[in-house]
Amino acid sequence: MSNFIFKLVRTLRRTTFSVLACTAVAAVSADAQTAEIPRTQDGKPDMNGIWQALGNAHWDIEPHAARAALQMQAGPVVPVPAKPVLAFGAVGSVPSGVGVVVGGEIPYLPEARAKKIENQENWSERDPGIKCYLPGVPRATYMPFPFQIFQSSSHFFIAYEYAGALRNIYMEDPGPAQVDSWMGQSVGHWEGDTFVAEGSGFNDQTWFDRAGNHHSASMTVVERYTMTSPHHILYEATIEDPETFSRPWMIRMPLYRHVNEDARLGQFKCVEFVEELMYGQLRKNPIGSEERR
């Protein structure tokens, strides 16, 4: 009986999310009818500009309630923040999010779901973002940093503020990716007013968020960028990875233009920011070693 109620609640929850998602899409579509989108001289939607996802997908792409920390440990009564993140206090707490996964839940295969939970339990050692590693796709899109699209008749290039990550989305297919890489190889084309980027050649080192969601090197990502107003792009990405997921699944979210006149992409070259974390113990005189002795 309780199992039935659980399933019912889950179904209801999913329905709610789907309805929410549909409402959001409908709202953005209505926008599109009232506002003309800018176009390049060759008639394509002009996506040049600085864009950013808002919301909490970078914490956890699945629907989630707020929680005390990204990494928890067992406490005497309830789980409490784990030692590596304790000092951050509420700054390190995870805000709630409605999620960006269409349907609500990532369709993990059982072992892959177990690995996700293990990743979460060891977040501070495993999240590639901690070490300023390249974020991969689609995570680069909704990191809490803007990115800039450089679109011309021959090029579609995305420079991400975070870690100086970048993608040159080839407008002519160079054939299968010759080697796996962090940001993969993407090939773009237009389907009407939608820019479609087909990504492959990813390595298995990147995550989807700070909640341990992961994939294998077999992943492909098909992204769709559709301008719904001069200041909005509807971003959809379909993820396929039979080694990790039982079926293809999709994330969907709006991207917002930085509309302020002095908007510019900042620089977040974080490699030097993590040197103390990664190499501090190898200094000739490790900082704080005097006090420890």
């Binding site: 390049t40 001289q41 060759d42 040049n48 590639p128 070490k131 300023c132 590693y133 390249l134 800039q148 450089f150 679109q151 011309s152 008749s153 021959s154 090029h155 290039f157 420079a159 100086g164 990550a165 970048l166 040159n168 080839y170 407008m171 002519e172 160079p174 010759q178 080697v179 890489s181 962090w182 940001m183 390595n203 080192q205 002095d262 510019r264 992409l265 900042g266 620089q267 070259k269 490699v271 030097e272 040197e275 990664m278 190499y279 113990q281 190898l282 200094r283 000739k284 005189n285 070693s289």
Partner: protein
């Protein structure tokens, strides 16, 4: 991915990819009218600078003191032939029966670093003399006329001496910050991403340019660094905001893109060609399409408190047939960890200060 592996793969892929031209090059080929090259233009009528370029060359930044500004064709042929022969010789397979280098290294300097780190297969330092406006150049610097850096001011010498004194308090392996920026995967070797954008004489001297009406984006392969040049009237950053590669603003003078850069990162000013420069440093760059396969790059470095005169250079950027691959340096930077770890191990062995085992 390990830096070396990336390079290997890049090298292999370059060979594979170089058999096919990008659509951009094809478009340019189509732009030829009766064999006459016609400047490709963007939709807004500007010269189209887009695509992949390389500035790899054998020509050094500074000219040898006894050398004329321009090589004769015979001199250039000798230099290029010498490089080709050297490449051929160094590309011979390694002896499979060779033994490990002796403890502490074999004393050799350069890329192999005493322990056989790199053999020539990994390198791509440039195999052509820089040809600029039809001249076979013996240096990239063209002003001063002797092709060499101008004299430094006393104040600049003083600043460099102070910086050097600060550095001397550390051993070169004491801290990650004591290692070169490229070894730390922060920027490329030398002044690759610039400005000025100079060859690193090592490998991967590759760039991608993408152009929109209000921005020029220049990506340097190492280490996936983008310079975003804003077009129009400069609205400079506040004086204390100093990003890597500075703050660049561009405008068109006829068919030449002119870029002016200020607000250089102090860390960048501490290294290489720009050592000892002040916050007043300004670098002006000029990009002009010269022909189907060449983008002429000119630069002028101006900081009266550092050099007694401005200095300028000219570098040909040539079309790179093929793709530019991801240079994920930091993600596979085992070397920095091992260099520091090795130094600590050596200290322990030499019975110096006790560093805890990890």
């Amino acid at each position: 991915m390990n830096m070396r592996h990336t390079t290997l793969i890049s090298a292999v892929l370059l060979m594979i990819a170089s058999s096919g031209f990008s659509s951009h090059v094809k478009a340019q080929v189509r732009a030829q009218v009766d064999g006459q090259w016609v400047m490709p233009r963007t939709a807004d009528g500007r010269p189209d600078l887009q695509g992949n370029w390389t500035n790899a060359t054998t020509t050094p930044i500074q000219r040898r003191r006894d050398q004329d500004a321009v090589y004769t064709p015979e001199e250039a042929a000798r230099i290029e032939g010498g490089r080709a022969a050297r490449t051929e010789a160094l590309n011979q397979p390694s002896d499979p029966d060779r033994v490990a280098p002796p403890v502490g290294g074999d004393g050799s300097v350069g890329a192999a670093g005493g322990v056989g780190g790199y053999n020539y297969f990994w390198l791509d330092p440039g195999d052509r003399v820089a040809m600029f406006n039809g001249e076979l150049r013996a240096s990239l610097i063209i002003d001063p006329a002797d092709g060499r850096y101008p004299s430094r001011t006393d104040a600049s010498r003083q600043r460099m001496a102070e910086a050097s004194q600060f550095r001397r308090q550390f051993g070169q392996y004491d801290n990650p910050e004591n290692r070169p920026l490229a070894e730390r995967c922060i920027v490329s070797f030398g002044s690759n991403a610039g400005p000025p954008m100079l060859p690193n004489y090592f490998y991967n001297n590759n760039y991608t340019i993408v152009q929109t009406p209000d921005h020029i984006m220049i990506m340097t392969e190492m280490v996936h660094d983008t310079r975003i040049i804003r077009m129009g009237t400069p609205k400079p950053l506040p004086e204390h905001v100093k990003p890597w590669f500075g703050d660049s603003w561009g405008h068109w003078e006829g068919d030449t893109l002119v870029v002016e850069t200020t607000n250089f990162s102090p860390t960048q000013l501490n290294r290489g060609q720009l050592s000892g420069a002040t916050d007043n440093l300004k670098i002006t760059e000029r990009f002009t399409r010269a022909d189907e396969y060449t983008l002429n790059y000119e630069f002028t470095v101006d900081d009266p408190e550092t050099w007694t005169d401005t200095w300028s250079g000219e570098v040909p950027f040539t079309r790179l047939p093929g793709l530019v691959y991801e240079y994920a340096c930091h993600e596979g930077n085992y070397a920095l960890f091992n260099v520091l770890s090795g130094a600590r191990a050596q200290e322990r062995r030499e019975g110096g200060r006790q560093t805890p085992e990890r």
